[in-house]
Amino acid sequence: MNVLLIVFLPLLAAIVAGFGNRMIGNTAAKLVTTGALFGSLALSWPLFIGFMTGAEASQLHPVLDWIHSGDLQVNWALRVDSLTAVMLVVVTTVSALVHLYSWGYMAEDDSQPRFFAYLSLFTFAMLMLVTSDNLVQMFFGWEGVGLASYLLIGFWYHKPSANAAALKAFVVNRVGDFGFSLGIFATFLVFGTVSIPAILTAAPHMAGSTIGFLGQRFDTMTLICILLFIGAMGKSAQLGLHTWLPDAMEGPTPVSALIHAATMVTAGVFMVSRLSPMFQTSATAMGVVVFVGAITALFAATVGTVQNDIKRVIAYSTCSQLGYMFMAAGVGAYGASMFHLFTHAFFKALLFLGAGSVIHAMHHEQDMRFYGGLRKQIPYTFWAMMAGTLAITGVGVEGVFGFAGFYSKDAIIESTFAAGTGLGRFAFAIGVFAALLTSFYSWRLMFLTFFGEPRWAGSEHIQHAVHDAHGHGHEHDDRPDAEDAGHDTRPHEAGAGEVPTGTAGYHPHESPLTILLPLLVLSIGAIFAGMAFAPIFIEPESAARFWAGAIAFNHELAETAHHLPLIVKLTPGIVMVIGFLIALQVYVRRTDLAGRFVGQFGPLHAFLLNKWYFDELYNVVFIRPALWLGRIFWKKGDEAVIDRFGPDGAATVVRFGNVLTARLQTGYLYTYALVMLLGLAAAATWAMAR
C-alpha cells in the first residue's frame, strides 16, 4: 500500500498542478506537488531502513493488466527489493528537496504550476522505472523520464537554444532506445517472457547458446546485454551518446540537479545493476561496460577541466562520474556502483543547487571567468559547495573519517584493481587519472568562483543589473530564464587572467531560506552518506545480507578489494592531492599560468573546449545527410520519378487519348463509377451465363 502511495502521489500531484494550472494558482500548485513529494519521501525512508535492518523483504504489488498478446504477458506492477529501496530514497529525497528549492529559485517565473507539474511527473516516471517488474514497464519509466526531461529542458520554450537542446536530448536518447527496444525484442524471443525475475533466473541456462542477428550468429547473452546496454548508454550519457547532456543545462538549474545529475541519468546504471545476473553471463558484454565507462570517465573529465560555464563543468563531471559507476558494474562490483550512485546523487545535486545559488546571486551570470571572491558575499552557499567539493574529490583518511566520495569512488577504483583482469587494470589506470582530473576541475571551479579578486565587471549580466538598479529605476527582469548556458559568444581564447577585475558596484546577495535549506540537507548527505552507508553497500558481509540477491553481489571481489596493498589504497588520495595542488597553483597563486598554458597548447585546449568535436562530427555524419536525403527523396524520388512515370505519365497518355471531358473532376468520378458498374455487370452476366 505504501509503495503505491510513494509512486502515485507524485502522479496525482502532477495532474492536479498541471490541469489546475492557472485556475488553482501558484501557491496551491506548489503546495500540492511539494507536499506529495515529502509524503513519498516520508514513506520511502522507513522502507529503506526496513531493508537495512532486514525487517522488509522483496515484495510485488500488482496494479493492472497491461499488454496481453499470446505469450507476451505484461502487467503494471510495483516491485520493491533492496535495490529499488535505494533508488526510492535517492529519487524521493532529491526530488522533494528540489521541489522545495524551486520555491525560491523559480519564484519570479510566470508558469510555476507547469514547472512543478513537470517535476512531479518526472518523479512519477522515475519511480515507475525503479519499481518495474518487467522490461516493458521499465521502458515506460525510461521514456517517461525522457519526456519529462524534454519538457523541462525546453521549459523556457521561447529560447531557441532550449528548444534545440530539448529536441537533441529526446532524439539522442531515442538512439539508445533503439538498442533497448531491440534488446527487449531479443529477450522475449529467447526467454518467451519480459518479466525481470524470470529472465534473471533463466539467463545462466542460456550461457553458451547462439542466436542469429542481422545475418550473423552471436552469443545470445552477449547480444542481448549489449543491445540493452546501448539503451543505458543513451540515458546515462556515455561516450558516443553523451552529447545531449551538456546541452541539457539549458533547463532551469533545479532540473539539472534532479534529472541530469542525481536521478534520470543514473537510470542506465540502475538497469545494469537490476539485470546484473544477466550481465554476469557474458564476459564480453561486461568488458564492453567497463571499457565504455572508463573511456567516458576520462573523456568527460578532460573536457570538464577547460569549460567556463559553471553548469557545464558540473555536467561533464556528472558524465565522468557515471563512467565510474559503469566501470564498477563492468568488473562485477555492483555494490560499489550503486554506492557511488547513492552518494553521487547527494553531492552532485548539492553542487548543482549550489551553482544555482551562485547564479542566482550573480544575476544569472554562469561564466566563471566573471566570478571571483564570492566567498564572503555568499558564505552559506560557499560552505555548501565546499562540502560538495570535498565529497566529489574524495577527501578522507582511511579508518577515521571521509566525505561521501571517499568511500564510494575509492571503492570503485579498488574494485577495478581487485578484479585482476587486463581490462580491470586499464580501468584502474584511467580511474586514477580521472580522479586527478576530477580533483583539478572541482577545485578550479571553487577557486574561480569563490577565491581571488572579483571579476564581475566584465559580465554583461552584472552590468545589466547594475545599470538597471542605478539607472532608470524600472523593475529589472529578474527571471532566471536569462540563464544562457553554453551560448557564449565571448572569445574562448581569453584566459582567466585577462578578464577585467572589479565589482562594478554590484552586491551579490545570499539566497533565500527555501534555497539554503535544501543545500544544508544535501550537505549533510555529502558529508556523512559515505561513512554511514558503506557497510550496507560494500562491506563484504553486511552488504551481501543487504542486497540479498537483488544484485549479483560479488562477495569475493568485495573481500579482495578490502585487502588490497596499502599503496593501491592510497593512490586515489595521492592523485586527489596532486589535482588540488595544481588547481591551487594555477588559479590562486599564479593566475597568469592558465593563460600561458592556453597560449602554448592552443590546439589541445581548443580540442577539449570543443568537447572533442563530437557535435561537429555528428552534424556532418548524421544530421546534414539525413536532411539532404530527405530533400532528395522528396524532390527527386517522389516528384521527379514516381509521379512523373506514375500518375502524371498516365495523365499525359490519357490526355492524348482524349478520353476525358473538359470537366475533369466529375469526369473521373463518372469514369470510376462506370468502370465499377461495368465490372459488376460483367461479373453478373458471366456468372449467369456460366
Binding site: 499470446g70 500518375p647 473521373y668
Partner: protein
C-alpha cells in the same frame, strides 16, 4: 440482440440522414448530420456491448439473397467490430470539425459525409465478396467529391491522382475476385472463401492482384504519392476520415483476404511487403523531416506508420498481427487528431506553412497540451496507444526477421525527430507574426473533439486489453490458418545443451484463448 438487424440499421441511419440533409438548410444539415452520426455511435456502443468475446466467430449476421448474384450478407468479427468503433467514433468529430469551416454547399457536404460513413461501415460488415467490393470502391466516391469540391487550390490534381491510383488497383482486384468466385462455383460468401484452399499457382496471381489494390489504399511505397496531395487539398474533416478510416481499408484487406485466403502466397511474397515497408519507414520519415507544410508532414508520417501495420500483419505471429491491429486503431485516432490540430490553427490563420506559426504555447496553452499528447502518441511513447501497437508489431517482426525489426525500429528515432521538430516550430519558440500571437485558444467544440480522442488514446495505451480482447480469438483463427505457411526466421536460437532446432515462438500458441 437476436433478430434486430443492428448492422443494417447502422448502415441505414446515415443514408436517411443524408437524404434529409439534402432537403435541409445549412444549419439544419449540420444538426441532422451530427445527430445521425451520434446515433450511429450509440448503436456502435450497443454493438460492442452486445458482442460476445470468445463467442461465435461471426456475430450479428444477416443474410438476404435479394440481388440474385450476390447476397446482402452482413456480419462482424472482433476485428471488424474494432474498426467499426473507430469509424463511428471519428464521424461525429468530423462533423464538428466541419461545423464552421465549411461554408459552401453545406447540405451536400454533410450528405456526402454520411454516405461515406455507410460505405466505410459496409466494408467492415460485408460478408459477401461483391458486396464488399461495392462498399470498398464506392466509399471513395464521396471522398473524391469532398476533395474535389471543398478542397484547396490544387484540388483537381489531387483528386485526379487519388482516382488514378485507386482505379488501377481496383480493376485488378475485381478480376481476381471474379476468378475466385468462378473457382468456388459461384460461392461469394466470405466465410466460405476464407477456408477455401486455392491452388498454389493461382494464389500468387490472386495475391498480387489484391496487393495492387490494398497497397494503394495503405498506402505503401512507391504508390503513396497520392496521399500527401490528397491530405493537403482535403478539408480538415476529409483528412481525418482519410487518415483515420480509409487508410485502414488496406490493412483490413490484407488481414481479411490476402493472408487467410492465400497463406502460401503470402509467405512466398512476404519479401515484397517487408522490402517496401522498410523503404517506406526510412524514406518517408526522412521526407517528413524536411516538409514545410504541416499536413504534408503528417501525411508522410502516416505512410511510415502504415508500414508498421504491414510488417506486423506479415510477421506471421500473434504479436505482429495484434500489433498491426492496434497500430491501425491508434493511428486512426492519433493522425486524425493531428489533422484536427492542424485544422484548429488553419481555421484561424488560413495557412499550413509551419514557418508562419511559433510560440502558440503562449496564447493557446490548452491546444499546446493536447497537441503534445498526440505528438507523443505519434512517436510511440509508452502509456499512449501508439506504443502498444508499435511495440507489438516490432516484437512480432523481430520473430520473423531481425533485419526487418532493426531497420523498422529506426523509425522510432526518425519519428521522434520530425514530430518534435514540428512541435517546436509550431508551438514553442516565439511568435513570428502578430496574427498567430492573437489566436484564441480552443473553443468548446474543439476542446470536446480533441479531448475525447486524447482520452481514448490514453485508455488504449494504459489498458489496451479492452481493445485486444475482442480481437483475440479472431487473430487466433488467422494464426491457425496461416501457421503452416509461416516462413523461417533468421533469429534461430541454438542452445548447446539441447542442440534444439529453431525455437518456434507463439505461432504454437496461435489457437483461440
Amino acid at each position: 440482440m437476436t433478430g434486430f438487424p443492428i448492422l443494417s440499421v447502422m448502415l441505414l441511419v446515415p443514408v436517411v440522414g443524408a437524404v434529409a440533409c439534402l432537403f435541409a438548410s445549412a444549419s439544419g444539415a449540420r444538426w441532422i448530420a451530427l445527430i445521425a452520426t451520434l446515433l450511429d455511435l450509440l448503436l456502435g456502443i450497443l454493438l460492442w456491448y452486445g458482442y460476445q468475446i470468445g463467442g461465435e466467430q461471426w456475430q450479428f449476421t444477416e443474410y438476404n439473397r435479394t440481388f440474385g448474384l450476390f447476397a446482402w450478407a452482413l456480419g462482424i468479427d472482433g476485428i471488424a467490430l474494432m474498426l467499426i468503433m473507430l469509424s463511428v467514433f471519428l464521424m461525429p468529430i468530423c462533423i464538428l470539425a466541419s461545423w464552421a469551416s465549411i461554408e459552401r454547399r453545406v447540405p451536400e457536404y454533410m450528405a456526402y459525409f454520411l454516405i461515406m460513413e455507410t460505405m466505410m461501415l459496409g466494408v467492415f460488415m460485408a460478408q459477401d465478396i461483391f458486396l464488399f467490393y461495392i462498399f470498398f470502391e464506392a466509399g471513395l466516391i464521396p471522398m473524391f467529391l469532398i476533395i474535389g469540391i471543398w478542397g484547396g487550390a490544387e484540388r483537381i490534381y489531387a483528386s485526379y491522382k487519388f482516382f488514378l491510383y485507386t482505379f488501377f488497383g481496383s480493376v485488378l482486384m475485381l478480376v481476381a475476385m471474379l476468378w475466385m468466385v468462378n473457382f468456388t462455383h459461384g460461392d461469394t460468401y466470405i466465410p466460405h472463401l476464407l477456408v477455401t484452399d486455392f491452388p498454389r499457382q493461382a494464389q500468387t496471381w490472386l495475391w498480387l492482384a489484391f496487393f495492387a489494390s490494398f497497397a494503394v489504399k495503405m498506402p505503401m511505397w512507391p504508390v503513396h504519392t497520392w496521399l500527401p496531395d490528397a491530405h493537403v487539398q482535403a478539408p480538415t474533416a476529409g483528412s481525418v476520415i482519410l487518415a483515420g478510416v480509409l487508410l485502414k481499408l488496406g490493412g483490413y484487406g490484407f488481414l481479411r483476404f490476402s493472408l487467410p485466403m492465400f497463406p502460401q502466397a503470402s509467405a512466398q511474397l512476404v519479401w515484397i511487403i517487408f522490402g517496401l515497408s522498410l523503404i517506406a519507414i526510412v524514406y518517408t520519415s526522412l521526407v517528413a523531416l524536411v516538409q514545410r507544410d504541416m499536413k504534408k508532414l503528417i501525411a508522410y508520417s502516416s505512410v511510415a506508420h502504415m508500414a508498421f501495420v504491414t510488417i506486423g500483419i506479415f510477421a506471421f505471429n500473434r504479436q505482429g498481427m495484434e500489433g498491426a491491429l492496434i497500430v491501425m486503431l491508434s493511428h486512426g485516432l492519433v493522425s486524425g487528431a493531428l489533422f484536427l490540430c492542424v485544422g484548429v490553427v488553419y481555421d484561424r490563420m488560413h495557412t499550413r506553412e509551419i514557418d508562419r506559426y511559433g510560440g502558440l504555447a503562449n496564447n493557446m496553452p490548452a491546444y499546446a497540451l493536447l497537441f503534445m499528447v498526440f505528438t507523443m502518441a505519434s512517436v510511440g511513447l509508452p502509456g499512449t496507444a501508439g506504443f502498444v501497437g508499435e511495440f507489438l508489431s516490432l516484437i512480432g517482426s523481430y520473430h520473423a526477421s531481425t533485419f526487418v525489426a532493426a531497420v523498422a525500429t529506426t523509425g522510432i528515432i526518425l519519428g521522434a525527430a520530425y514530430m518534435l521538430y514540428l512541435y517546436w516550430r509550431v508551438v514553442y519558440g516565439t511568435s513570428r507574426n502578430a496574427d498567430a500571437a492573437a489566436m484564441p485558444d480552443l473553443n468548446p467544440r474543439e476542446y470536446v473533439s480533441l479531448g475525447a480522442i486524447a482520452l481514448v488514446v490514453m485508455w488504449m495505451g494504459i489498458y489496451p486489453e479492452s481493445f485486444l480482447a475482442p480481437m483475440r480469438s479472431d487473430v487466433g483463427l488467422l494464426m491457425a490458418r496461416v501457421a503452416s505457411a509461416a516462413p523461417k526466421s533468421d533469429s534461430a536460437l541454438v542452445t548447446p545443451a539441447l542442440a534444439a532446432p529453431a525455437k518456434q515462438i507463439s505461432t504454437a500458441a496461435g489457437g483461440a484463448h
